[in-house]
Amino acid sequence: MLMNNSVINIERLCVEFDGEHVLEDVNIEIMAGEFVALLGPNGSGKTTLIRAILGLEHPDHGKITLFGTTLKRFKDWHRIALVPQRLPGASSIPVSVWETVMSGQIRPRSRWRLFSRSEKMSATQALKDVDLWDRRRDRLDALSGGQQRRVLVARALACQADILVMDEPTAGLDSANVAALSLLLAGIKEQGKTIIVVTHELDDIEHLVTRAIVLGASKHQSVGYDGPPPVPGVFAHDHHHHHDAIIDKTPPVVGMQP
């Protein structure tokens, strides 16, 4: 671990699509153990930002560092796990729940051996954690949307990564499932892992969040607010209005300046 415990560092990040600025001058440093909620209206670049962090989007400007290594040279991908926003949908070939969770354990460096006992154990534990162990032999696309999302969460959990990135993990989950997920996230937070959650509904995880980053505030800087979640309950419900309210009240400093 690095001295300053910085796990993600983003400097002056700009991403354009067809000449349109999606992200502009983003500067964020995330420390180990933080629970970050990434907020903002649709189209504010939340998903683009996490895709850029993960090397899935190529920035036009700026520098991204993961665990002290620039993205280009970064090799320790086992330290990061992603829960994607999109559900797999209907599959051409049946893929079982178990195979989906185990797919998270596939790494180039393990291509010369079979899955290890501990890899299978963590997949087993993750499936039990999301309460879908009984469905492990079923086709993934035979499950409900909420269940499929839990499988994707289990796949990420099984990686036992240091950073867990979740893009709208609560989408399509009913309140009972959201409550279960928040309990799960609390446990992961206890272990000192870094969690980044893109979300619209903070309600059930708000008590876990240590930092909120709101995107889409101004034309020249994508990050409108970056700091501790100011007032409990402020993000809940109609977040569009509240984003503006937060930005009005709080100077867009905090975090780091270039």
């Binding site: 993960l54 070939i93 797919s103 790494r107």
Partner: protein, 275 residues
Amino acid sequence: MIALLDFDFMRRALVAAALVGLIAPLIGVFLVQRRLALLGDGMGHVALMGVGLAFLLGTAPIPTAMVTAVLGAFLIEFIRNRSRTAGDVALALLFYGGIAGGVLFASLAPGKASSSLNSYLFGSLSTVAAGDLWALGILAVSVLVILAIFGRELFAVCLDPDIAQVQGIRVRAMSTLMAVLAAIVVVVGMRVVGLLLVSAIMIVPVAAAQQLTRSFRTTAVIAVIIGLISSITGLAGSFYIEVPPGPAIVILALGCFAVLAIVAVPIRRRRKELA
């Protein structure tokens, strides 16, 4: 069956058919999952150009077709990566270019090359030479070895390319590998099944198997069984009723699809009741 095995050429054809019945569905299961079911067809057409070229230049058909098909595999991945929407157009270009080039080269070739092109289109019982069998065997074994090493990474890429990339898997390299493997299967199958139908052995057994399976692995295993049954029986049948082996093998595979379609109905219903 005894009479059939009395002939050297039939023994060689049977081994060649078994090889393609084994490896074709193993690649097909990845192609279908990645929605590239027609990639094998594209490769077949490109290999046809290689065969035409071999006639024209007087080189051996298998290595020439192999080189052409692998080049085609790189080309199609190159076009697919450059523009996302051009995937099916890229395949179409391969189809037309391959078949036009193949027939053109074969027609320009001296002798009666163009008439023997037919045996490459629909397969033939008598064209597997003893030397060919070695080449086909080595190609088939290399497909199995590559799958043993890279199979899981290929699976991850088929499942979700983005997640695979975040796991450190080289998605582009794996996609190209998949196209190259399809090219190898096409060349292994071109002698007995024929270039126009070889990709059916990649796709039809997989389509048949997935009707009653619940996992990727079982689908692959059942598809291989269907591939082996239809290629071996199809080849033997074509000997007795004197038709080209390719169509016989494919019709049998389609028969398996129809049978499993009927069998799958009660199985699925029972699974639903249990769940």
